[in-house]
C-alpha cells in the first residue's frame, strides 16, 4: 500500500512575498542591461511587467539568482510606423497596443488578441515582449504575430539579430533567445491590400489563458484566396502555423465546404494535451470551429476592406 509519489512542493510556495533570494538590478540603458545578462549568463532573468515572472517566482517555479529589470529602458516602449512596417518596442504595454489606432486599423487580429488578455490591470502591466519571451503555448499575441509574419529583434553584447516569429517558439517556456539576449522589438510588415485578419479565443472565463486561440489572415483577389495564414495556440507545445491548411486554401474560392475542409486539416496539425483548462479532444474540436469562424471573419474583412 506504500506509495512512491513525490512530495508536493507546497511548503516552498508563499505568494505574500517572493520566497526566493535574488539580487535586483535596474539598468538605465540597453547596454548596461545586456552587460549584466552576459555577466550572469543563465543565472539572471529579465523582468518586464512581471505578470508572468513574479507569479512564477512566488510559487517557486522559477528561482533566478539575479533579476534584471528593463522597465527603465524607455527606448523599448514605442509603436512606430516605418517604411518597412510597424515596429513595436518589446516593453510596450498590452494596454497601449489595445488602444493604438494604427494597430486596430492595420493589424486588427493583434488588437483583438491584446483586448482578450487578462484584465485591464494586467494589460497595464504586461508587455508584448514578456508575452512572447514567456513562450507559453497559449500566449495570445503569438498567433496574430505569426499570421502577420512578424520578426523580432534580439540584442546581446555579441550584437543583434532578427528572428522570424515562426522560428521563435521552441517549447513550453522555451524561446529561441539565448540567456544573454534581450528582445528589443517586434517588426510587422504591412499587409497588402485585400487582406483581412481576425483573432478568436476560447477560455474558461473572460479572464483566462486560452483553451484554444486562433488567428487567421487571408488575402483575396476576385473572390479567390491568394494566400491564407492560420496560427493556433494552446494546442501544441508551441503556438503553431497550420501550414497544410494554408496550402489547401491557396487558390480556392472560400465556400463553406472549403472552410470546413481547411478547418479539418488545421485541426489535424494540432497536438493538444489534457490539463486543468480543457481536454485534448475538446481543444481539437474547438480548433476546427475557431478556424472556421476566423476564416469567415478574415475573409469578410478582406473583401469589405
Amino acid at each position: 500500500m506504500a506509495s512512491r509519489v513525490r512530495p508536493s512542493p507546497i511548503n516552498t510556495m508563499n505568494t505574500h512575498i517572493i520566497p526566493v533570494r535574488f539580487e535586483y538590478f535596474a539598468p538605465k540603458t540597453l547596454n548596461e542591461a545586456v552587460d549584466l545578462l552576459s555577466r550572469f549568463r543563465g543565472r539572471a532573468k529579465v523582468l518586464a511587467g512581471g505578470t508572468d515572472l513574479v507569479v512564477q517566482m512566488k510559487v517557486g517555479r522559477v528561482r533566478p539568482e539575479y533579476v534584471v529589470s528593463i522597465r527603465w529602458l524607455r527606448e523599448l516602449d514605442f509603436i512606430d510606423t516605418r517604411e518597412d512596417g510597424l515596429h513595436i518596442g518589446a516593453l510596450t504595454k498590452l494596454r497601449r497596443i489595445e488602444k493604438s489606432d494604427v494597430i486596430r486599423r492595420g493589424f486588427i487580429a493583434l488588437y483583438e488578441a491584446a483586448k482578450a488578455m487578462g484584465g485591464v490591470q494586467v494589460r497595464c502591466m504586461g508587455t508584448v515582449g514578456g508575452n512572447l519571451c514567456n513562450a507559453s503555448p497559449a500566449a495570445d499575441t503569438a498567433p496574430p504575430l505569426m499570421v502577420y509574419e512578424a520578426r523580432v529583434k534580439a540584442v546581446s553584447t555579441r550584437g543583434e539579430r532578427e528572428i522570424p516569429i515562426t522560428k521563435f517558439f521552441k517549447g513550453p517556456g522555451k524561446s529561441a533567445l539565448e540567456p544573454d539576449e534581450i528582445l528589443t522589438e517586434v517588426m510587422i510588415p504591412y499587409q497588402p491590400a485585400n487582406t483581412g485578419s481576425a483573432f478568436l479565443k476560447v477560455a474558461r472565463t473572460s479572464m483566462d489563458l486560452a483553451k484554444v486561440n486562433v488567428a487567421a489572415a487571408i488575402n483575396v483577389r476576385e473572390g479567390v484566396v491568394r494566400w491564407a495564414r492560420i496560427a493556433l495556440g494552446a494546442v501544441a507545445p508551441t503556438p503553431i502555423r497550420a501550414l497544410k491548411a494554408e496550402a489547401y486554401l491557396a487558390g480556392k474560392e472560400l465556400g463553406e465546404d472549403v472552410i470546413a475542409r481547411a478547418a479539418e486539416i488545421a485541426a489535424s496539425e494540432t497536438r493538444p494535451i489534457t490539463d486543468v483548462r480543457s481536454t485534448a479532444w475538446y481543444r481539437r474540436e474547438v480548433s476546427k470551429v475557431l478556424v472556421k469562424d476566423a476564416l469567415r471573419i478574415a475573409y469578410g474583412r478582406a473583401v469589405r476592406g
Partner: protein, 786 residues
C-alpha cells in the same frame, strides 16, 4: 412591496454604513492588525495526501531565530472545529497539528519569526522525515471498499470513542410510509444518479489569525470567523484556558460563504505559536494556502427516485446521499440530516426513504458553502422534477405548484430536529410573475430548434431556512444576544457579537432598531465588540443574521422602549399609562418625540428623557437580550434563466435572468438584490464552471491553488444588469422582525438547477454531473448526433 411602505426606515434605500470605510481602506480586517513585537507565522503542511511522520529536526529553523511547534507541542485532544451542533451530535477527529496527515496540506508543524521572509526560510529549514506514505483514497465509493486503506480508525463522538468502519464517518437512515408500495402504485417513476462538484468558496479575504498574549495569562484573538463566541469556546476547550481569559475581537470580514462557520485551523495554530513564543503572532494564509488546503464545499453523490400518479401527484421519493467529506468532519453528520431536510421540504413526496453516508477521503476537509448542501440537493431534485413533469406531460411550473411544500405545510429547517409550519409563502406569486417576465409559455421546444445557437429557458425553485431555531431544542444550537443602551444624550449604542460578513446584516439590524424606536439609523452606533463584552450568538450562518439576530435586536429595542416610555411618563405627569405613549422621529427637531396621540402639548423628546434619567439618577436605559427563535421559516426563491448554447463549442451563455425572492419584508432592497446577483453568480459557476480536481496518484489538487488555475466567472461572463430582473414577493413572516426572513442562501440554492434545466430545454439533453462544462456539452451533442 406594498407592505413595506408603512415603515419609516425599513425598505428604504440608504448607502451602506461601512461603504466609505471600505472604499477608503479605513476598515480594519484581521490582516491589518499590527502589534509591536509581533511575529509572523507559517504552517508546515503535509506534502503527502496520507502519511505518517517519523521525526522532525527543527534545529536549523530555530537557529534562524524562529519559534517552532510540532504535533508534540500541542494539546493531545481530538476536537471538531465547529461547535454549532450539540455535543452529542459532534464527531471529533481534528488535531491542531498532526503526526498522521490525511490530506495534502494538513498542518504538521508551524514556525513564527520576526518577518514573513524569515518565517518562510525557517519553514524550508525544517527537516521532516516520513515513516510511511500511503496511497491516497480519493473516491468515496472506493473508500468504502473494505480493502481500502483506513483514513481514521477511531474518532470521538461527544466524549466516547467510536470505530470508523470502511471510512464511513457517519450515517443516517430515515423513512416514512410504505415506500415500496408507493412506487408500485406510481404511474411514472424516474430514477437518476448525480454527482456534484467540489467548489472553493473564494471569499475575498483569505483566512487570518492574530493572537496576542496578555498580562495574567489571557489572550486576545483577531480572526476571520463567522462566530466570535464559538471560536472562543473552542480555543478554551482545546488549550484548557478558562473562557474568561480568552477574548475574540470582532474585525471586518471579507466574506466567508460558510468557510468559517467552524474555527479555521489557522486560528488554533496561531494560538499555539503565541503561547509558545509568548509574543503576538500573526498567520495569514496566502490565496494559494486558502484554495489548496483550507476549505471546499461538500461533494455529494446522489441517487434519487421519484414516483408520481397520472393526476400529477408525487407519491414516493427515495434519496441516497453519499458525501465525499475529505479527511475530517466539520458538519458532515448534521448535513446528513439537513440534506434530507432539503429533500423533504422541497416537495410533498408522500412516502420517503433515505440513506445518507459521510465518507472520508484523503482530500481537503469539506464544509458548508452558501446553502449547506441545499444547492446540490435542489439541483438534483429540480432535475428529476422536470423529468417527471415531462413524463406526465405536465407543465413543469404547474407540476411544481401542485406538489411543493408551501403555506400551512410542515417544513424541516435543518433536518428532522428543526421543524416549522410555513406561515408565509410567496411561491405562487413569484411563479406567476416570473413566468410572465421571462416568457415561459413561449419557451422553445428543443426538438424544434435548428442552427448553431440554441436558446433554452429553465425554471427551478428552492428555499432556505431562516436560522435553525424552533420550539424544541434539537441537535443544533441557535440563539442570539443583543445589548442596547440609550446614551445620556439620546443616541444609541448597539452591542452584538453577531458577525456581518460584508452583506450588510448589521445595517439591517440598525434599521430594525430604528424602526422600533423611531431613532434614525445615523444615531445608532454599532459597537465594535468582542467576546468579553457581548452575550452569546451562535454564528452567522443558516441565513439567520436578519431573521434571528435582527429579531434579537428588535426585542432589545422593545425592552429599551418600555423603559423610555416609563421615564417619559415621569416627565408627562398627566399620562397614567406609559403604553399610551408613541415615539416618532421629528426631522425638524432632529430628535425622537414621545407624545400622546391627539394631544399636541403632551410631549417630550428622547434626548430630554435620556438627559433627565442621568441628571436625576434614575439609572441607565439599557437592555440585554438572549433570544431563541420559535421557528425557522423558509425563504423561497424562484429562478427563471434563459441561456444560449453554442452547439459547436458547447459554450453556454446566460441571456436573461428573472429571480424571484420571498424574504418576507425586505429591509434593505439594494443589499437584498445584491445577495441575489451574487447568489446567481455563484450558482452559475457551480452549474458550468467550478471544480477542484485531484491528481489520482498523489492526491494533490491539480488546480495548483493559483487563482489562474481556479476560475470563477467575471462580470462579462454574467448577464448584463438590464437582463437581470429581481422581484420580491409581497409576503410578511409573522415570526420575523417586522415580517422579515433570510435571503443569503435562498438566493443561491436553485440557480444551478435552473441553469441545468435551461440547458436541457435548449438541447433536449440532461446532465447528471456538475459542472456542465463546454467539454461535456459538446461531447453529449456529438454523441447524440452519432
Amino acid at each position: 412591496m406594498g407592505v413595506t411602505s408603512r415603515f419609516r426606515f425599513i425598505g428604504k434605500r440608504v448607502p451602506r454604513r461601512d461603504g466609505v470605510l471600505k472604499v477608503t481602506g479605513a476598515a480594519k480586517f484581521a490582516y491589518d492588525i499590527e502589534i509591536p513585537g509581533m511575529l509572523y507565522g507559517r504552517i508546515f503542511k503535509s506534502p503527502y495526501a496520507h502519511a505518517i511522520v517519523d521525526r522532525i529536526d527543527k534545529s536549523e529553523a530555530e537557529r534562524l531565530g524562529a519559534v517552532v511547534i510540532t504535533y508534540e507541542d500541542v494539546p493531545k485532544v481530538l476536537f471538531n472545529t465547529r461547535l454549532v451542533s450539540v455535543d452529542e451530535a459532534t464527531y471529533k477527529d481534528w488535531e491542531v497539528l498532526t503526526k498522521h496527515p490525511k490530506y495534502v496540506g494538513e498542518p504538521i508543524a508551524a514556525v513564527a519569526a520576526r518577518s514573513e521572509e524569515v518565517a518562510q526560510r525557517a519553514l524550508e529549514a525544517l527537516r521532516v522525515e516520513f515513516k510511511e506514505v500511503f496511497k491516497p483514497v480519493l473516491d468515496p465509493f472506493e473508500a468504502m471498499d473494505p480493502a481500502a486503506p483506513k483514513i481514521h480508525r477511531k474518532i470521538v463522538l461527544a466524549n466516547r470513542w467510536v470505530d470508523v468502519v470502511n471510512n464511513v464517518g457517519a450515517t443516517l437512515e430515515y423513512s416514512e410510509g410504505d415506500v415500496d408500495k408507493a412506487f408500485r402504485d406510481a404511474d411514472v417513476v424516474i430514477e437518476r444518479r448525480f454527482k456534484t462538484n467540489r467548489r472553493y468558496h473564494l471569499q475575498l479575504e483569505p483566512k487570518v489569525a492574530v493572537c496576542k498574549p496578555e498580562v495574567g495569562g489571557s489572550i486576545t484573538v483577531w480572526t476571520t470567523t463567522q462566530s466570535l463566541h464559538n471560536t472562543r469556546i473552542l480555543i478554551s476547550q482545546v488549550f484548557g484556558i478558562p473562557m474568561s481569559k480568552v477574548n475574540v475581537v470582532k474585525t471586518f470580514l471579507g466574506g466567508a460563504f460558510g468557510s468559517s462557520i467552524h474555527t479555521n485551523l489557522v486560528t488554533l495554530i496561531a494560538v499555539a505559536l503565541c503561547l509558545k513564543a509568548r509574543r503576538p503572532v500573526k498567520i495569514a494564509l496566502t490565496r494559494e494556502d486558502d484554495i489548496l488546503h483550507d476549505h471546499v464545499s461538500y461533494q455529494m453523490h446522489f441517487r434519487i427516485k421519484a414516483g408520481a400518479r397520472r393526476d400529477g401527484r408525487l407519491v414516493a421519493g427515495e434519496f441516497e446521499n453519499v458525501m465525499d467529506i475529505g479527511a475530517h468532519q466539520i458538519q458532515a453528520y448534521p448535513l446528513l440530516g439537513t440534506a434530507l431536510g432539503w429533500f423533504v421540504s422541497l416537495y410533498k413526496w408522500g412516502s420517503i426513504r433515505y440513506v445518507g453516508k459521510a465518507v472520508y477521503t484523503n482530500k481537503v476537509p469539506t464544509c458548508a458553502f452558501r446553502g449547506y448542501g441545499n444547492p446540490q440537493v435542489t439541483w438534483a431534485v429540480e432535475t428529476v422534477i422536470d423529468e417527471v413533469a415531462e413524463e406526465l406531460n405536465m407543465d413543469p411550473l404547474d407540476f411544481r405548484l401542485k406538489n411543493y411544500r408551501g403555506l400551512g405545510d410542515i417544513f424541516w429547517g435543518q433536518g428532522p430536529t428543526v421543524k416549522t409550519v410555513i406561515k408565509s409563502d410567496g411561491v405562487p406569486e413569484l411563479m406567476r410573475k416570473g413566468a410572465e417576465l421571462i416568457g415561459w409559455y413561449r419557451r422553445p421546444k428543443p426538438w424544434e430548434q435548428r442552427g448553431r445557437f440554441r436558446r433554452g429557458i429553465g425554471l427551478a425553485r428552492g428555499f432556505h431556512t431562516s436560522g435553525a431555531g424552533g420550539p424544541i431544542s434539537g441537535e443544533v444550537i441557535d440563539y442570539t444576544g443583543a445589548i442596547l443602551k440609550v446614551n445620556e444624550d439620546g443616541s444609541i449604542d448597539y452591542v452584538t457579537a453577531l458577525q456581518d460578513h460584508g452583506g450588510g446584516t448589521l445595517d439591517a439590524h440598525v434599521k430594525i432598531i430604528a424602526e422600533e424606536l423611531g431613532v434614525p439609523p445615523e444615531k445608532i452606533n454599532v459597537v465594535w465588540s468582542d467576546t468579553f463584552t457581548t452575550v452569546y450568538d451562535v454564528c452567522t450562518h443558516a441565513s439567520r443574521g436578519v431573521y434571528v439576530g435582527g429579531e434579537g435586536a428588535r426585542r432589545a429595542a422593545a425592552k429599551v422602549k418600555e423603559r423610555i416610555l416609563e421615564y417619559a411618563s415621569r416627565l408627562l405627569p398627566k399620562v397614567v399609562n406609559p403604553e399610551a405613549l408613541k415615539m416618532e422621529y421629528d426631522e425638524e427637531l432632529d430628535d425622537v418625540v414621545i407624545y400622546v396621540e391627539g394631544m399636541p402639548g403632551e410631549k417630550v423628546t428622547l434626548s430630554e428623557v435620556a438627559r433627565t434619567a442621568w441628571q436625576r439618577n434614575w439609572g441607565s436605559i439599557s437592555a440585554s437580550v438572549s433570544y431563541r427563535a420559535t421557528a425557522a421559516p423558509p425563504s423561497f426563491t424562484v429562478y427563471f434563466v434563459e441561456v444560449e448554447v453554442d452547439t459547436e463549442t458547447g459554450i453556454v451563455r446566460p441571456v436573461k435572468v428573472v429571480a424571484g425572492a420571498d424574504l418576507g419584508t425586505v429591509i434593505n432592497p439594494d443589499l437584498a438584490a445584491g445577495q441575489i446577483h451574487g447568489g446567481f453568480a455563484q450558482g452559475w459557476s457551480m452549474a458550468v464552471l467550478e471544480d477542484v480536481v485531484y491528481d489520482p496518484e498523489s492526491g494533490e489538487p491539480l488546480n495548483k491553488g493559483l487563482i489562474t488555475d481556479y476560475k470563477v466567472p467575471m462580470a462579462p461572463d454574467l448577464p448584463a444588469l438590464d437582463n437581470f430582473t429581481v422581484i420580491f414577493a409581497s409576503t410578511y413572516e409573522p415570526t420575523g422582525p417586522f415580517g422579515a426572513k433570510g435571503i443569503g442562501e435562498a438566493a443561491a440554492n436553485p440557480v444551478a438547477a435552473a441553469v441545468a434545466n435551461a440547458i436541457a430545454n435548449a438541447l433536449g439533453i440532461r446532465f447528471y454531473e456538475l459542472p456542465i462544462t463546454p467539454e461535456k456539452v459538446l461531447e453529449a451533442i456529438k454523441e447524440r448526433r452519432g
